[in-house]
Symmetry: C2
Subunit: 587 residues, 2 copies
């Protein structure tokens, strides 16, 4: 016996379709829900819903499994069937985290949860604490980044379905790794979204880059908010996930007295108390608004952290001048901006943005750096480039080593992107399989147009719909022991060990971050209490003072010399020094 439930406030009649049998549902109740208990249904039963007189069966908006894809029926899945072994797991704190973002489909050749499990030992030894999965819900077609998911409660069957995710999370926890997943609550994908047949999931009062906005504030929004809150709680409760990364929260348009994000953070806090596990929420926000991460008591939304895009843009534009005037890079491109990002988080904290043609942001005054995630590579920053080329492809190995040193010693919680740690040769390109020729054509044309505006030859833009584009983006794990790749991996190991072992790199106190730089000579020194990071991105060697006679902890390349008086940095190099008192004989 299984009881089916679905929210369809406007329907006059509803039925569950199982095989050829129709089971009428009763409803709607006061909140718009319909239900039907079906004797012969149970775990594994495929089903769909029939609405009113529409002959077409639709999958369950909250279906847990879509083994026939987004257009097919849903399958009943019983959460109780899995045997968890992570009973005492509580999860490491975000403040000490080193996050590793990965995409299940390209992280391994097989592209499944089970294949990814084989790499967990490697990640743990690298010093990773949290794995962040790019969206793992059901999307149309055979490959995709996942941001066009439409069955938001169903674990993608290509990756291994519900049981696959559980095996993965369980294996992570067994190895001491926390799992975050990326969830998209700002839109549904353009193909295969049948939720709007059931209720007012969207509203035409506001327009987003994907069309009508999700209905967080209009008629019927209580149940739409429940849909997304319940989705969030499901991952944490039923899949033992440790936290969520919320995609593009600036497209949540909600004037309610209790903003959706505040409601979500309240509900997640309650669940955290009940599960006795640490649960975190991380927002991707383009608003430069500290309200995201401020405590609710202070009028904030109570997110644990948000991505720190200004830091990325400021760092990237001093590494790679060429892109300086493009898109949002217009607003960056100096050591001064990078210094501001390192000390103030938001570079745009109430100042005019040329890119946006308006004033942007407000200061984070007094917030910990641990409320912000810092990175120099992520799926967007690599994958949204025309050909998905990685940092070291663009600026070379030496400069990429400087970048990673800054990212891993910055006051933010660091995040790296799959393959970044060994300077993977494979790109991470934009791929999608919309399963719809018109949509596929529109996406490719759109990308060609977009990048042509930046001077790219349209012919080199990979076709997102082609299997090769997906395959090309898979990591080649044979590389990790080879030459430059192996050396980069060792560099990351050292940086992460330093990060995790140094109290100074873990205090999150923005007031302790002191930065000096020379804009024309292109060197920068960041002090974080007892750690000094000195880097030279100039074309000439930089000879800097060392009055404290600080000893070297890490050097990114040959030719770095640290004496009691001087630090000599060749071009594209970084030296990390200890500022602790030392004995004369110590070096």
């Amino acid at each position: 016996m299984h009881e089916f439930n679905v929210w369809a406030p406007g329907a006059a009649k509803m039925a569950v379709k199982i095989g050829d049998a129709l089971h009428p549902m009763t409803g709607p109740d006061h909140a718009g829900w319909w239900k039907a208990a079906v004797e012969e249904a149970g775990s594994g039963t495929d089903y769909a819903f029939l609405l009113d007189d529409d002959p077409k069966p639709y999958s369950d908006p909250r279906g847990l499994w879509q083994p026939h894809g987004v257009h097919g029926p849903s399958r009943v899945y019983d959460h109780k069937s899995f045997d968890w072994s992570d009973i005492h797991w509580q999860g490491p704190p975000l403040s000490g985290a080193v996050i590793y973002e990965l995409h299940i489909g390209t992280f391994t050749t097989a592209g499944t949860f089970d294949a990814a499990i084989e790499r967990l030992g490697y990640l743990f030894e690298l010093g990773i604490t949290h794995i962040e999965l790019m969206p793992i819900v059901e999307f149309p077609g055979k490959h995709g980044w996942g941001y066009d998911g439409v069955a938001l409660f169903a674990v993608n069957d290509l990756y291994g379905g519900p049981d696959g995710l559980k095996r993965f999370v369980d294996a992570c926890h067994t190895r001491g790794l926390a799992v975050l997943i990326d969830v998209v609550y700002n839109h549904f994908g353009p193909v295969g979204n049948y939720t709007t047949k059931f209720g007012p999931y969207l509203t035409s009062r506001h327009c987003t880059p994907w069309g009508d906005a999700v209905n967080f504030e209009d008629v019927g929004s209580d149940q739409v908010r429940r849909f997304f809150c319940d989705n969030a709680l499901m991952w944490m409760r039923d899949y033992h996930v440790d936290g969520l990364r919320l995609d593009a929260v600036h497209e949540f348009i909600d004037r309610s007295a209790i903003h959706f994000m505040e409601q979500l953070s309240i509900e997640v806090e309650i669940l955290s108390s009940m599960l006795e596990r640490r649960l975190v929420l991380i927002a991707e926000s383009d608003l430069n608004d500290p309200r995201m991460v401020k405590p609710r008591e202070a009028g904030g939304y109570g997110m644990d952290a948000q991505w720190s895009d200004d830091f990325h843009h400021a760092l990237f534009t001093v590494l790679h001048k060429e892109d300086e005037g493009r898109g949002y890079y217009t607003d960056f491109g100096s050591f001064e901006k990078l210094a501001k990002a390192l000390t103030s988080v938001f570079v745009y904290d109430g100042i005019y943005s040329r890119y946006r043609s308006r004033v942007h942001g407000r200061p984070v005054n007094g917030l910990s750096g641990h409320h912000f995630i810092g990175f120099i590579q992520n799926h967007d920053q690599v994958g949204n480039r025309a050909i998905g080329d990685r940092l070291e492809h663009i600026v070379g190995m030496n400069r990429a080593r400087v970048a990673s040193a800054i990212a891993l010693t910055a006051p933010f919680v660091p995040m790296i992107f799959q393959g970044e740690e060994f300077a993977a040769s494979s790109p991470f390109q934009y791929f999608a399989d919309h399963d719809d020729p018109a949509m596929a054509k529109a996406v490719l044309e759109g990308r060609k147009r977009e990048f042509a505006a930046f001077g790219w030859n349209p012919a080199v833009i990979p076709d997102p719909e082609k299997t090769e584009t997906f395959e090309r983006s898979k990591l080649n794990w044979d590389e990790i022991h080879e030459g430059g790749h192996g050396e980069m991996l060792e560099w990351f190991r050292q940086l992460i060990r330093l990060r995790r072992d140094s109290p100074s790199l873990n205090d999150g106190d923005m007031g302790h971050v002191k930065v000096r730089f020379d804009e024309s000579k292109r060197w920068l020194i960041m002090d974080r209490s007892q750690i000094r990071v000195m880097c030279n991105l100039g074309e000439a060697p930089a000879e800097l003072e060392n009055p404290g006679q600080y000893p070297l902890l890490l050097a990114s390349r040959d030719g770095i010399e640290v004496t009691e008086e001087k630090v000599l940095l060749p071009p594209d190099s970084v030296a990390i020094l200890s500022c602790e008192k030392i004995e004369k004989q110590g070096h």
Copy 2:
């Protein structure tokens, strides 16, 4: 010589047109502004702008005077020409205010600022502290409520133009009365709005009841925000106005890290410090969100107060059962709701609203009642009824007296609507002169449809465009000494005197408000420290205990008896008692 300035960021060329002469402008500067100094122009010069190759001249979006109406040229006006006599004016605090809302066009027969001045002595003697003017900017046609204004910097010429408003404000201040004006920053009127020729004042990203939303967050929004902030500051600085009522702020759609309202409250605070005068901002908000009036330090927008619509609806629906199920009245209609409004401000403070089909609001926890404006009549609540009938026309004099007693002893800052104090016989109907036959027809048809849905005969709905509708809405001041009108006026005088003389009615502490009621017998007792308000809206007399032996202060009608044991209240009556200790011989 006069320097013309205008923001037109997208224009390729601009000129000022004076008579037949064209004076080219220079620009745009970095912010999109154009300017031209014209030797022969000065105070009184009529001018318009020419944009690019458009042959049609357009009035100045920031024009100060439109003596030829909204479609004609603007006239240069020199603020320095007026001789102010209110030099030491600082303004009374809002916490002790009794606000009087009036519409210049109908407050007197002449419908001008100068005619209104003649009534100021009367208002002062009534005990009014603040006059709130319905919008006084230029709108199309010969009469209107003012919410469809389009020249938002120009004082309506029908009312007396810029000098007329100054004479009025100066006269108010001389008599000790503060002046608030109602400003509409959520849309421009549908006829005669030429601002969009000049720049992106609107954005199609969000949709409001009036169409595209004002652009508070998109490209170019800095200057749009400046337009509205400068407008606000102008009234306070150049017209000596003491504060603003912001119309329907829930239609400001702004995801910026610093919300427009927060920016405005910062700028008004600065001006207040510099002018050494008290300046207040009052929001009309439909969000039931305490963020509006919370201090900015606590994550609020820093408004001084907001309208308390829930209190109105809760009170109105116990006075008039008939409208209970209509529109937003669906959500009200019990003494329990009224008691909640009196003790908690928001009845909908996070509970489900049937009218809205969703959960609404959040609690005001700990905020003073003085952050909320309470009323039983205002321009909307009277004028948006089908025939604009006033409370006493609907529920009778006795019940209207009970209503005013509750409004004037409630913990909110009380506001009354012109004529309410003498139970004016004239209605306040919806009138507008759109100067556009298609628009006029659409408005009338819309109103007929709207009210037909509530069972009204469309034939009785007044035509907003007809002069008679406007004329009918004018107050008849001859009434104030006549019978029931004079008695009502005396009742208001007594209530206002009590309000202003009683410390208990001025503490704003919601924690001091205690309410008991009997839903079936329809009596309610509100205690505010040393004042007890006892009212009976039942059909039978109510005999209530008087264990404290409290003496009577005010009785709304004959037949109220207060003894040492009992308070006897006939139907539709209210008694106000003093809870101070009294001597036996005191009564």
